[in-house]
């Protein structure tokens, strides 16, 4: 009796785990006894193996997503007014508003057809500020201010650490806590700006010069809109 060779579709279904137990058993028996089918199977199996890549770990993705989802939910018009008040207060406290390039956040920052908006988040070890002298802190602030002015000529909105600490709770329950937990390692969010730029690469070029990168801090850039 001439053996019935399984079609390629059957070999591929075997590799994909789509056969029933009895179908799998029949195919295994045939391939073990038929060199021609074993060769065909081997070729499909080699491609299958090359395509079955290792798993890619994505640490804490759930927490990051929840954080983003809640911030987005909190960005309702009424809450934007509250956010604007907080940002103005922060900006005045830091002393940046009035430099000519800085404006407080407002509900009109997202406009259809504009260049994308990017949020540039600064993460630092908060102890690195507590452990330094007032003079050193002043130098740091000056260096940051110098970098900040170098992004001039753009529409920029800014925020400080207070936004996600005490004042952050105004955005809704759990947001401040989520913001803190979302940051990796010992770094905490100490501030952010929202900036309009033509591309992610353009923002990346700007943030590479930010002084906090030179002292172990971290800057995260996220596209906000569109």
């Amino acid at each position: 009796m001439t053996p019935v060779h399984p079609p390629d579709e059957r070999l591929v279904a075997f590799l994909a785990g789509e056969l029933t137990d009895s179908e799998r058993s029949d195919l295994e028996t045939h391939v073990a006894e038929c060199p021609a089918c074993a060769a065909r199977y081997g070729e499909f199996e080699a491609v299958d193996r090359a395509l079955t890549g290792p798993s890619v770990p994505l640490a804490a993705v759930g927490r990051r997503v929840r954080f983003r989802a809640r911030v987005a939910a909190a960005r309702s018009p009424r809450r934007l007014v509250v956010a604007a008040c907080v940002l103005v207060a922060v900006g005045v406290a830091i002393g940046w508003i009035g430099s000519g390039t800085v404006r407080p956040a407002n509900a009109a920052i997202v406009r259809q057809g504009d260049s994308p908006l990017y949020m540039v988040i600064f993460n630092e070890d908060p102890r690195s500020w507590a452990d330094t002298s007032a003079a050193a802190r002043g130098e740091r602030s000056a260096a940051f201010g110098q970098w900040f002015r170098s992004v001039g000529g753009r529409e920029v909105n800014l925020g400080g650490a207070q936004l996600v600490r005490g004042e952050g709770r105004r955005y809704g329950p759990g947001v401040a806590e989520a913001a803190m937990r979302a940051m990796p390692g010992s770094l905490e969010m100490t501030g952010f700006i929202v900036i309009r730029a033509a591309s992610h690469d353009e923002v990346a070029r700007l943030v590479r010069r930010n002084p906090i990168l030179g002292r172990g801090g971290q800057v995260i850039v996220r596209r906000l809109y569109p």
Binding site: L58, V61, P226
Partner: protein, 175 residues
């Protein structure tokens, strides 16, 4: 049920769901976007943010996995359209047409990049089935739901795609 717990606001349940599905979605998005893992991660996060918003309304008409895969494919298509419009970054079409530069004479199984380069040149129907099977890890039934084709067609397309990859690699090796 994790979905029900997450829909009720159980953060731990949502974390488990996100971490369970994110790796496959990232593989899918990254390959779909011509190997751009950074944007791939953004796409996956966007897809999961949409899930977070939609959970209270999620009726379970389709499996969560196929729902997320559909959203991810749509977001990848949006991103590709946005790139074409803006004409910035490396054009995905270029990467798709040419793929990485390959050295001939290496074995199929040892060189994932060569196989990926062949996939990039496959017709979209075959490429999508390969990505859904190997990147997203979908079953034939799930692929048929996402693509909207009969179950038998999934098997035929997958076999045709693997045969084509095998043939192209053999051709390269013989040069």
């Amino acid at each position: 049920m994790l979905v029900r717990r997450a829909a009720r606001g159980d953060d731990r349940a949502f974390d488990i769901l996100a971490e369970r599905h994110a790796p496959a979605l990232l593989r899918l998005a990254t390959h779909r976007l011509g190997g751009d893992r950074v944007v791939g991660e953004e796409v996956v996060q966007d897809a999961l943010v949409r899930l977070h918003r939609a959970l209270p309304r999620f009726r379970g008409m389709s499996s969560l996995r196929t729902w997320l895969v559909r959203i991810t494919l749509n977001l990848c298509a949006d991103e590709a359209r946005r790139r074409r419009r803006a004409a910035r970054h490396v054009a995905i079409e270029e990467a798709d047409r040419h793929g990485p530069v390959l050295e001939p004479g290496e074995s199929v199984a040892d060189d994932v990049a060569r196989v990926r380069a062949v996939i990039a040149r496959l017709p979209d129907g075959l490429k999508t089935v390969i990505e859904l099977r190997y990147d997203a890890g979908l079953s034939y039934l799930e692929i048929s739901e996402v693509v909207g084709c009969p179950l038998g067609t999934v098997g035929t397309r997958l076999t045709t795609a693997l045969r084509e990859i095998r043939r192209e690699i053999a051709l390269e090796n013989s040069k």
